[in-house]
């Protein structure tokens, strides 16, 4: 028994990502066509070259038929996967394992979400019949409980902490302003973010991720075949997923200052990839900043900061675009927007651009030129106490 990973067994050889926006003029089919076309073109292949497909969507359609019909894939194995907001990463896992197993030569992972057809702001899960006792709180409210808990545990002044997390949003807005595919391309000051109307607890509107439509796709092949498709593949170093048992909601020992599912997925991923000092080894990290306190806690759970010190590191700019370890150089969920099923693959798209030095110069991270070759993507779904967490690591260099 054990989690062995598939380090360097598969490679990503093409990627695509639509702009994330309120695409009132584009349907799911349009988004799927655009993201997959870019990915297939990048790998120099056509639809018929792909042997199998995985479609990640949380609630924009049922079954693989959504993708098969949009692309008119005839006789192809197409599977829809769902794991809340980590759905896009789940599609990548499935495609990667399928190729690593030898079952297929070339597989495509696609994530898509059409959230702006609901008529409501925010994300709205479709109802599963229940006994009516489940809580109806928004995700913003659940994550808002992190701030007072963190402030109390580490003795941080609540007003100081509020400004630190606003700085996280401000950083991600600054990065997103340099990203032509991002939903929000406007810089936001800490003061402006703090002045926004409250949504939940201390969190204002701009502490929340953008809600957008979009799609992203990745073409996956065996590592030894990668150079048939591109000179600059990304090798999959680690894929880790933890689905929490929900015990945080009912366990009096849980204190809302950490997400154990993420710590566990991170540790597993680092073991798979052979990473011992993530802050020193990674060139960049794309993390699931659904709300500003989430990114704060993630810095500790992913081992970028010591416990109780992420707020200091964030304040000092350690995770800024020009910082020691750039986090969310593409603007993150905050600024790029969050089409649920697409976000995990959108994160990978930024790793694809950055590690291959294809990001626009104004946001190309300096760590790559400094010789770092690894990028981390972190994708979560759920709430404090009850979440699924994905951590993936890719790199440009196969292990010797």
């Amino acid at each position: 028994m054990g989690s062995h990973g598939i380090r360097d067994q598969v490679a990503i050889v093409g990627m695509g990502c639509t702009p994330f926006a309120e695409h009132f003029d584009r349907g799911v089919d349009d988004l799927l066509v655009e993201a997959t076309a870019e990915a297939l073109d990048g790998a120099g292949v056509v639809r018929a070259d792909a042997d199998a497909w995985w479609l990640g969507t949380a609630q924009s359609g049922m079954s693989g038929i959504v993708l098969a019909r949009a692309l008119q894939l005839e006789g192809a194995p197409v599977t829809r996967v769902e794991n809340m907001c980590a759905t896009g990463s789940e599609a990548l896992r499935a495609a990667s394992y399928a190729v690593a197993s030898g079952a297929y030569d070339l597989a495509v992972a696609v994530g898509v979400e059409k959230v702006k057809d609901s008529g409501y702001q925010g994300l709205n899960a479709f109802p599963i019949p229940t006994d009516g006792t489940n809580r109806t709180l928004t995700a913003a409210a659940m994550f808002s409980m992190v701030l007072p808990a963190y402030a109390e545990r580490y003795g941080v002044d609540p007003d100081d902490l509020r400004r630190v997390v606003a700085r996280i949003a401000s950083k991600n807005h600054a990065n997103g302003a340099k990203n032509p595919k991002a939903q929000f391309r406007r810089e936001m000051s800490v003061e402006a973010i703090c002045d926004m109307p409250a949504v939940a607890g201390q969190l204002g509107v701009f502490d929340c991720a953008g809600v957008a439509d979009g799609a992203a796709a990745a073409v996956v092949c065996r590592a030894k075949d990668a150079h048939r498709y591109t000179d600059t593949p990304l090798y999959v170093k680690a894929l880790s997923l933890v689905a929490g048992n929900g015990s945080g909601l009912i366990d009096p020992n849980y204190d809302y200052t950490t997400f154990p599912e993420i710590e566990a997925a991170g540790a597993d991923a680092y073991a798979q990839a052979g990473i011992t000092d993530p802050r020193g080894e990674l060139a960049l990290a794309e993390v699931h900043d659904c709300f500003t306190p989430t990114e704060l806690v993630l810095m500790e759970d992913l081992g970028f900061s010591a416990r109780g010190e992420a707020w200091v590191d964030c304040e000092k700019g350690a995770f800024d675009l020009d910082g020691e370890l750039p986090v969310n150089p593409d603007g993150g969920l905050k600024s790029f927007g969050h089409p649920v099923g697409a976000s995990g693959l959108r994160m990978l798209y930024e790793a694809w651009l950055q590690l291959r030095r294809e990001a626009p110069p104004e946001r190309q991270v300096a760590t790559v030129d400094a010789g770092r070759t690894l990028a981390l993507t972190h994708n979560l779904g759920g709430y404090p106490g009850e979440m699924v967490s994905f951590v993936g690591i890719v790199g440009t260099e196969p292990t010797a």
């Binding site: 006994d131 009516g132 409250a198 909601l249 009912i250 009096p252």
Partner: protein, 483 residues
């Protein structure tokens, strides 16, 4: 001899100052206050709270029957008493039925229970309707009250014994309301007054004679009636000394419909002394009179929430919010999808959790699981659980937040993580509080509420509410001084 074995009442937290009505409604109002059920309360939830208070000291001896009386039932066609039965975890062979519709139904239920058939819980609860500016709106109140009646035993002696009854039935039109309507219509006041006073006199005389007593023996006279004028006149003309006439709670609570006679009985018994003769006269579509003699056991009655304390407690509500809660002022709902209706079959599988807040406890670790679970967390066993009732547990807020975005019939939602004394944690919505009152350390108890209504289905579940001092201040956990 049948009598009253236990009793309790529940007044909702909010109070409407009647003097604030006219400025908005253009008319109506008056002096004093009335009680106002929360937006998340209905007759069924008020009944549950009153019944919990009543039965808490009698856990080992559940009633054999439950009669639920109200003028404002949540459901027609479906029995409302079964939800109360479920919330109280009464045995399956205990009959639960509604005595719903008219104000007279509660006294009738009490009579039926006193006739015999084993200990019976009679509970009444009302959320009284009334158009803005109407006399009914101002004079009414919302409340629940419950009496456990039956033959006294050594273990559970009667607090008061029934010593005489009298009744008069007569068909005449005084007050009427089409089911579902807000407005109660009424005939000219003086017509009902002239009918009711002689009927009340005849019923009381009969009851006192039945008891072998004289009117002069009555120490406490309780008059309940939807007809305020008739009740006032009866107080003067029934032949009982004026000082025996009890406060009808009209100035503080208001008239809670079918609940009024039970509420007055509870209040009177809580204040009674051994040997007191208490006469209840109800004027509603005829007249009912019940005469009780208070026993020695009443001296041992130690109500946790006596009516007098509940009357003194509570917090104000502004009139527009009251109108909004009663759906009499339509305001913009939150721009969020309305909740889906709960599933009948899913709810039927989890009745003890949903209605009675029963968790499960892992036999090995003692960990409490809410909702109940077959598998224990942190590596525990499967199917090694005991039911763990949590409804009467108190707890402390660990952390809290205010959700301004989520759907609620009365936003914003105040939400907290609560750790219970003796184990167990639940993320739960708070009620009967202002958002600013809640932070970590606040002490809470559980209360049965209607979370929302969808497709006509009242979605019942539990919320937490802060414990309060006598002066209404929220109680906080005492933090151990670390020095």
């Amino acid at each position: 001899m049948p009598g009253i074995l236990a009793l309790g009442a529940y007044l909702p937290h909010r109070r409407l100052d009647r003097s604030t009505i006219a400025a908005v409604a253009g008319r109506g109002g008056g002096r004093g206050t009335r009680t106002v059920a929360g937006y998340d309360e209905d007759a069924t939830t008020l009944a549950v709270e009153a019944a919990r208070t009543t039965l808490r000291p009698h856990e080992g001896a559940p009633p054999a029957a439950l009669w639920f009386s109200t003028t404002t039932p949540t459901y027609a066609d479906k029995t409302n008493a079964t939800a109360v039965h479920a919330a109280l975890r009464l045995p399956a062979d205990a009959v639960a039925a509604d005595f719903a519709g008219a104000a007279r139904s509660s006294v009738s239920a009490l009579r039926a229970a006193l006739v015999g058939g084993g200990p019976t819980l009679v509970v009444a609860a009302d959320v009284r309707p009334g158009l803005p500016g109407s006399p009914d709106e101002s004079a009414a109140g919302d409340a629940g009250a419950a009496l456990l009646v039956g033959e006294g035993t050594d273990a559970a002696p009667a607090l008061a014994e029934l010593v005489g009854t009298g009744a008069r039935t007569e068909e005449f039109l005084d007050r009427w309301r089409t089911p579902g309507e807000v407005r109660t219509r009424q005939w000219e006041d003086r017509f009902g007054e002239q009918r009711y006073v002689p009927l009340g006199k005849a019923a009381l005389d009969a009851a006192v004679a039945d008891a072998g007593l004289a009117l002069a023996d009555v120490d406490r006279l309780l008059i309940a009636s939807p007809h305020a004028r008739a009740a006032r006149t009866a107080g003067r003309k029934l032949g009982v000394a004026p000082e025996a006439l009890a406060d009808d709670l009209g100035a503080t609570v208001g008239n809670p419909g079918a609940t009024q006679p039970l509420l007055l009985l509870v209040a009177a018994l809580e204040a009674a002394a051994h040997g007191d003769v208490i006469a209840l006269v109800s004027l509603a579509d005829g007249a009912d009179a019940l005469v009780f003699r208070v026993t020695r056991a009443a001296a041992d009655l130690a109500p946790t929430r006596p009516v007098v304390d509940q009357v003194a407690g509570g917090a104000p509500i502004d009139y527009p919010t009251y109108l909004r809660w009663r759906d009499l002022l339509a305001t913009e709902p939150p721009r969020r999808p309305e909740p889906a209706r709960p599933s009948a079959s899913a709810a039927a599988r989890t009745t003890d959790w949903k209605f009675a807040f029963v968790a499960s406890e892992d036999r090995t670790s003692g960990a409490v699981h809410m909702p109940p679970s077959r598998a224990a967390m942190h590596g525990g066993a499967i199917d090694d659980m005991e039911p763990r009732p949590m409804a009467d547990s108190t707890g402390t807020v660990v952390t809290s937040t205010i959700d301004r975005l989520a759907y609620s019939p009365s936003p914003p939602i105040v939400f907290a993580i609560v750790d219970f004394d003796g184990g167990g944690r639940v993320p739960v919505e708070l009620t009967d509080c202002d958002a600013a009152e809640i932070s970590s350390g606040v002490r809470v108890e559980m209360t049965f509420r209607r979370l929302f209504t969808a497709d006509g289905i009242a979605n019942y579940f539990w919320k937490a509410r802060p414990l309060r001092d006598r002066d209404g201040t929220v109680v906080r956990a005492v933090v151990a001084d670390a020095g």
